[in-house]
Amino acid sequence: MLEIRNLHVEIDGKKILNGLDLVIRPGEVAAIMGPNGSGKSTLSYVIAGKEDYEITEGDILLNGQSILEMEANERAAAGIFLAFQYPLEIPGVATMTFLKAAMNAQRKARGESELSPGDFMKAVRGAAEKLGINPDMLKRPLNVGFSGGEKKRMEILQMSLLDPAYCILDETDSGLDIDALRIVAEGVNALRGAGRGMLVITHYQRLLDHIVPDVVHIMAKGRIVKSGGKELALELEKNGYADYVEAA
């Protein structure tokens, strides 16, 4: 279980998360919707272990253990994966080299042996094919010059290869065309179940037609202001955030 308790977060003295409570159960797909600037990406960075933030109160627990003292790489090895809203470009590092380094680093942290080159290639080729990623792209420097949609697909490719316990998808649908949205959603759905928890951050009902959530949370001004079933997303689509923002 991934549990966020009364989380207060500041950056440069500016309060961004304001007593946020959230639970993601194993096997559950939770969606977060909320207006621009409400703190959704901040929440995802804080869970993943980005250092710029000051946590003034609260805790984040993974299976009952606080992860606040863990480095980002330790959290990754413990099973947390963040698909970035804006994936970074890494010039000079071939995508393949990066994938191998990431997979082996996590295996090492868990006390497992390195993947053989054959097993690695097979895993990457298989996953790339499912996501419609051209193998030539894997030879290019990571994300450099990739289109918005290609970057998002690359995030899902990494997610499927790294086999995390909890996935946070920050606006993975933005920048995707209709076909890519379907392919990426299928990729995500294939990873559903098996006790894997997911937190899907999105602005659009459209994504939730493909990845049907178990619960929907509405976030405003740095906290969860309402939770409900998938119908909550439909209601938002109609009425917007105004009522919730005022109440927050």
Partner: protein, 418 residues
């Protein structure tokens, strides 16, 4: 009476005495030596007040001159395509077919070769010292296209601080081609002083790839110079990989003697501890239509200090010169420093010249991205640094050599992670 010269340092006095004692026994180049010595005697070792040495105050860094070596090293069985200069003495070796190799002393005595022919209008005291005092080295002449790389090992196997001043003169005839690799290595813990000069004279249309690896000892003062004269349409790529020496300064002087020549100068410097590494370039476009590219990358850890000085001169009639220079540094610690001094001296009006210099820490957002995928910080840093330095290797056309260089970069990073 005005006292213009500061007091001589012990090093200056020792070098003057050394020249006077050795002058009569030095091979050939009598006039060139005397002139070079006169310049040194007049100005002494350059201090920070001399602009070109502002960041590397040689007068201060070299208070004492280490003694010359007299003992002759044992000859060794040559490795394939390797020539060996040990402790400043040429020990022979093996060269690929198509390359003529002579001991420099012999070539000088016979008057086959002059000293300083590749320096053009440039003048430099470190080169002058080598010219005055060099005793041995190699003369290389290439008249055809030679594919196999020629390696020159400059090995120091000294047991105590000593001074070595080897010189290599390479002539690549019109239309000929050569790949030349210099390997400089020496013992840690010994404050030896090295002043190596390589002159490269490229005939019209000649092509040279030159790689220099500085893995000198950790107490060494490593001074080195590459002086290049380019014929028309000649092409040179020169890459310097620096990880050795307590203080190092690598200078490159390039003179365009013919039109449409091209150079691509590159440097990959990795320093740590209290190392100081200076890369200084003077590129003199004396004729029209020259092309120059410079890409210098520095990775600086701990308290180490990097220096980049790049001067591009475009003479009044050197129209259509195209020069692009970049120096970038990654500082891996708060104590690390980098001085960047690009200079364009342009006296022609129809030219395209630009330079850019950056220096700063690794990008925290990139590091976080890599760490969020499971890479520990040190591994994430190594991946980014490897990519940063790796770009300088793109210009090396020999796959095997490029791998050797990449491996040396990885090794440095592994040692750092430990």
């Amino acid at each position: 009476m005005a006292n213009v010269l500061p007091m001589r340092t012990p090093a200056e006095t020792a070098l003057i005495e050394r020249f006077k004692a050795e002058q009569s026994s030095l091979p050939g180049a009598v006039e060139a030596r005397a002139e070079a010595f006169a310049r040194f005697e007049k100005s002494g070792l350059p201090s920070r007040r001399v602009e070109a040495y502002h960041y590397t105050d040689l007068r201060n860094l070299m208070r004492e001159a280490a003694p010359a070596i007299t003992a002759r090293p044992e000859p060794r069985a040559p490795e394939k395509h390797h020539l060996l200069i040990e402790n400043g003495v040429y020990l022979g070796g093996d060269a690929p077919e198509g390359i003529l190799v002579l001991p420099l002393a012999e070539a000088l005595r016979e008057g086959r070769v002059a000293l300083g022919a590749a320096m053009g209008a440039a003048s430099d005291i470190v080169v002058d010292l080598n010219t005055a005092l060099c005793r041995d080295g190699i003369y290389v002449r290439v008249d055809t296209v030679v594919e196999a790389p020629l390696f020159i090992g400059f090995a120091e196997t000294l047991g105590n601080a000593a001074s070595v001043m080897p010189r290599v003169v390479v002539e690549v005839a019109a239309g000929a081609a050569l790949t030349l690799v210099e390997l400089h290595a020496g013992p840690d813990g010994i404050a030896y002083q090295k002043n190596a000069v390589v002159e490269l004279i490229l005939g019209d249309g000649a092509k040279v790839e030159h790689i220099r690896i500085n893995e000198g000892g950790d107490k060494a003062l490593m001074l080195s110079t590459l002086a290049v004269k380019l014929g028309a349409e000649a092409e040179l790529m020169s890459l310097g990989l620096v990880s050795g020496g307590e203080v190092s300064r690598h200078q490159v002087f390039v003179t365009y003697a013919g039109e449409n020549a091209k150079i691509d100068l590159r440097g990959a410097t990795m320093i740590k501890g209290r190392q100081h590494a200076d890369n200084t370039l003077v590129v003199d476009h004396a004729v029209p239509n020259g092309v120059s590219r410079e890409l210098f990358r520095n990775v600086i850890d701990d308290e180490a200090q990097g220096v980049f000085q790049g001067r591009i001169i475009v003479r009044p009639h050197a129209q259509k010169t195209d020069g692009q220079m970049a120096s970038n540094a990654v500082l891996l610690s708060d104590g690390a420093g980098m001085a960047n001094k690009p200079e364009l001296e342009i006296f022609a009006d129809d030219v395209v010249c630009a330079h850019g210099a950056t220096s700063g820490a690794l990008d925290e957002n990139q590091l976080f991205y890599l760490m969020a995928r499971g890479l520990p910080r040190s591994e994430a840093e190594a991946l980014l640094v490897e990519a940063f330095l790796g770009e300088t290797l793109d210009a090396v056309s020999n796959d095997g050599l490029r791998e050797v260089l990449a491996e040396r970069i990885s090794r440095w990073l592994e040692a750092r992670a430990r």
